[in-house]
Point group: C2
Chain length 486, copies 2
Amino acid sequence: MDVIANDLRACVEPTESIRFDFNNMLDKRVGYGRGVSAEVLEALRGKAAEALSAVQAARGTGWLEWTELPYQDESILSDIKDAARDIRERCDAFVLLGIGGSALGPACVHEALHPPRANELPAEKRGGPRMYFEDNIDPERMASLLEIIDPAKTCFNIITKSGATAETMSQYLIIRDALQRAFDGSPDWRRNIVVTTSANRGLLVEIARLEGFRSFVVPEGVGGRFSELSPVGLLAAAVGGVDICQLLKGAAVMDELCKQTDIMKNPALLEAALQFIASRDLGRNINVMMPYADGLRLFADWFCQLWAESLGKSVTRSGAEIYAGQTPVKALGVTDQHSQLQLYTEGPFDKVITIIKVESFRNETIIPHAPEGYPADIAFLGGITHNKLIEAERQGTEYALLKAGRMNKTIIVPSVCAYTVGQLLFFFEMATAFMGELLNIDAFNQPGVEESKLATFATLNHPAAKYEAKRREMAALPERDQAYIL
Amino acid sequence: MDVIANDLRACVEPTESIRFDFNNMLDKRVGYGRGVSAEVLEALRGKAAEALSAVQAARGTGWLEWTELPYQDESILSDIKDAARDIRERCDAFVLLGIGGSALGPACVHEALHPPRANELPAEKRGGPRMYFEDNIDPERMASLLEIIDPAKTCFNIITKSGATAETMSQYLIIRDALQRAFDGSPDWRRNIVVTTSANRGLLVEIARLEGFRSFVVPEGVGGRFSELSPVGLLAAAVGGVDICQLLKGAAVMDELCKQTDIMKNPALLEAALQFIASRDLGRNINVMMPYADGLRLFADWFCQLWAESLGKSVTRSGAEIYAGQTPVKALGVTDQHSQLQLYTEGPFDKVITIIKVESFRNETIIPHAPEGYPADIAFLGGITHNKLIEAERQGTEYALLKAGRMNKTIIVPSVCAYTVGQLLFFFEMATAFMGELLNIDAFNQPGVEESKLATFATLNHPAAKYEAKRREMAALPERDQAYIL
């Protein structure tokens, strides 16, 4: 049924499930006073049950529309697969123009489900077009992109729900111009653009109608950071050859688990409860995400937006000051053992470390035996695999953290495939929603971003009155002291 | 005189200097109680002067040998340039095998001084071999590397001072095998390996002698995270076409500034003093590094190791418990405005944000005008450059942080070139040394990393007695509760 033939990474077992090992979050393992006690966790059951009820009662409505994405219409998926097939046939590059939630999810899923450095592999080994996720406006970046792609053979997916995202829309204008030149006046350039935006409101849908671009819909109640399983993420995934049905199936399976009323059977609710206690009672204001797999590096980036933007809030839903929000930190095993582990084991008791363990990689890399005469400690490595070494190092880190009394937990991923990635995404989305409830904050808005946007347009001399007012406000700031610029 | 012809990025002005604007760290701008007061800074002068004296008294000795790297022997530089010329002539790829300080500096300098996605550019636009920095043992990574390089035309630079780094040495054994096969029995494979290691002790120098590899020296008193300006970083830089003399000259110029006894004239001492006060008095346990330039993304990674591993210490030099260390966080402007800014402006008052502003980029990217009939807010972008937009967004973020009472500061980089990168590196190295003095900790050791190494080798069943003891210790750990694995 699936029109995309080659799921680049089939699950070893189509039923395999991620697991959540939170032993090392509990004081009986990590040390009394340094972890969560069974009593405190028990005492949170009532509050956790309320959080679960609130999320389940609101699911599918308002800003919780994302909870229904695992079950979206077959017709949407079918359209996405059609578009993906067309793009895979016509194009040798796919460029996503978007920023924040419009890029982090698609880039994360792409990296997770493709070989490292896929763009440098020959086309037949890559199994699809080269993929670029353009989420910044560094002036050197667009120039370099145009050096390495042929716009005439590239599909550009412009993603912004509102169409008001200056970064993305400025990229669009640059690409529009490049495409028109590449097509030398022919209106066919429009075939190389696909937009993903609001169905009915906003500037991009207006432009899409004007130009006649193919378009996909970001549902109204799906915010950027919860949009990966909507067309925002699914089109790029399908173009890359990912089985998007498996992605959604993984999310749906996790959704079922996350409906369990017993906190000891509901992994996302438990994750939220543990982080809530860690930050409320134990001063853990830092949340480190440390996958032991290059392919999950951008998963950490995706998670960092989800956690930071959802939970970093100054007021509760009733308007009381709270200034909540753990700071998420991305790390990579084993690399960051040689960079951050010293701090994690000896620094302040201010963080929780989430390790992601991958049980089975796509390759087995065997370390050859050393020749005669080599030092014994090097010879010892011969015959071991990188698979075994990375896991031994992960265990070493986990043990070192535990011995130093540092709260940590492990997400176990049997193998990284569309099905398990779907589970991972939904697990952390649900945990974020539950954490928002426990904190009594609105996890779905982002009022703190507005000020910077106003100030940016004021700086650019936008003529609208609100920016004029902002310019006056900015001009009224006390002068910088020149003695404080060295 | 310089044998490397094309410095890929000459400074706009060979004398241009980075500047440090710390206005927004001070309470008179960021808000009373939310920043450093002039009185507290004034009161720290004595302690800061002592920190300066201690560093200057110890410079060039013990673990402070890195302070003399800007002045290292011309003969060393000349050897590096010779090797680089040879590699540039013979090879179309350069692969650095190293981890932690052996990779972060070289990768950071490479990214800063080359166009984005340099490996995908045609050779003539890249101006040198493709460059790969292999700092992990993900089993899929080495496999992918061997898909995209031809070992016979690749130089492998193996970097580990002790030669005992399991990750790097395992990579070496894999590459040794691949090279022998590529050279079909000819001993010429050895010409494709260059090692950078200790002059006299350790396993790699032993192997280099045995095999007859060309080698460069990591000076004994230069630790990994302070090694970028040693041959560790200089060879990769020279192979990439960077003018290494400019890099060192930049560091030397910064060194002069950082000898100033007046704290108000010594940028690194001031940086350390401000961070010291922020963490001691104001609870700022998080230090965000946020460059507004794709090319400085890995600079943030380099900085994160420097700050975390140097300052994350459990005891003072006299053995008293301290559990010091801000957690460094890497962010990227403008991208992370759409991910982390909500948290930075509305979350806890627990962080200091360091912004890096680049005044002049290599490209000017103009946003074309929108056609008739486009919405006014999109049309407004036409004619503006990405250069102007990224700077307006940076100002917007700075203003939003300030208005929300969040401590921030800006490093101003006139243009990213070898000379200014040398300044940047040395500035943060000196600030780290001063911060270590203010905290009275040893900024140059990393005792917390040992435990994880022992546990790793114990897990791998290494037969040595110390690992056997560690295995017994690990086995004595209470069992994991299976109910805590969901």
